[in-house]
């Protein structure tokens, strides 16, 4: 029984934090995120026998969490889904003396130096949280949770091609917001989520 208790504690601690993180960024409300984490873990234990491939537990758990988030969203106010235009996410290019020069910030100190600063963490919080929901969910699965394209497609009911397209635009949008933050030395995105 001790082994079972240890397994329980490790499982709950590991997945509760992950589910909370995902649902907080999808729901935008702490209370909703904690409810989603609890409901998801209960559902996971209740339906564990339905998990056909134990090595795919992470996408299975996230699919349950995603459905719990969708149920919450019927009662809450959420950032709507919308499209991101590729043109709007491309950097401006200066043409001077026959040479092309990008108008972007100096990223050379990233990520080590600046990641240690809480202001930079908040800039990333805000950059991710302000993405349209349909792009935010993809970048959370692919880059934050590091699920594969196929796993993300399964969790979010999308085709792999849509996952790839949305991931690229989400990354470009986050890059653009961080670039604005770096160019303004933190002033543009200093507000907290």
């Amino acid at each position: 029984m001790t082994g079972d208790a240890n397994a329980f504690d490790r499982f709950v601690e590991h997945f509760r934090a992950k589910i909370f993180r995902y649902s907080w960024l999808m729901c935008g409300q702490r209370e909703d995120a904690e409810d989603v984490a609890q409901e998801t873990l209960l559902k996971v234990f209740e339906s564990f026998d339905q998990l056909r491939e134990p090595e795919r537990i992470r996408p299975w758990v996230f699919r349950i969490a995603r459905n719990a988030c969708l149920m919450k969203r019927r009662k809450s106010v959420f950032a709507p889904s919308q499209e991101l235009s590729l043109d709007d996410l491309m950097p401006a290019i200066d043409h001077q003396g026959g040479h092309a020069r990008l108008q972007i910030a100096d990223w050379s100190g990233l990520p080590d130096r600046r990641m240690l600063q809480s202001e930079m963490r908040h800039a990333l919080d805000r950059a991710i949280a302000t993405l349209p929901e349909n792009f935010r969910s993809v970048i959370l699965m692919r880059d934050v949770e590091e699920l594969s394209t196929l796993e993300t497609a399964h969790v979010l009911d999308l085709t792999p091609d849509v996952v790839k397209t949305r991931l690229h635009r989400a990354r470009l949008a986050v890059r653009q917001k961080l670039d604005e933050y770096l160019r303004s030395d933190g002033r543009a995105l200093s507000g907290h989520v």
């Binding site: 904690e34 873990l41 209960l42 491309m90 990008l102 934050v144």
Partner: protein
């Protein structure tokens, strides 16, 4: 290469960068992109900023953390976990 043509190539490179970083590009397209990157410092600079964005996302941990699990919530989870174990034991 004319500037306009070069800029159009840069835009094409920008649009494929995530697939390149994910190692999802077919070999031919990958070679073509690397040939362009080798002679285009602005594209290298942009690709590097996108690569670092991905790295930051992978290291990302939001400031918000869940509150410690309350007694009632823990009891509910323990009960569900024990039911799961009982069901497994009954079947085996």
């Amino acid at each position: 290469m004319e500037l306009a043509e070069r800029t159009a190539k840069c835009r094409e490179v920008f649009s494929l960068l995530s697939e390149y970083l994910n190692l999802d590009l077919p070999p031919d397209a990958c070679q073509e992109m690397e040939a362009h990157l080798a002679g285009c410092p602005p594209c290298i600079e942009f690709a590097e900023s996108l690569r670092k964005t991905v790295e930051l996302c992978r290291r990302y941990r939001p400031a918000e953390l869940p509150a410690p699990l309350g007694n009632k919530a823990r009891e509910q989870l323990v009960e569900a976990f024990q039911k799961m174990l009982s069901g497994r034991n009954a079947r085996s």
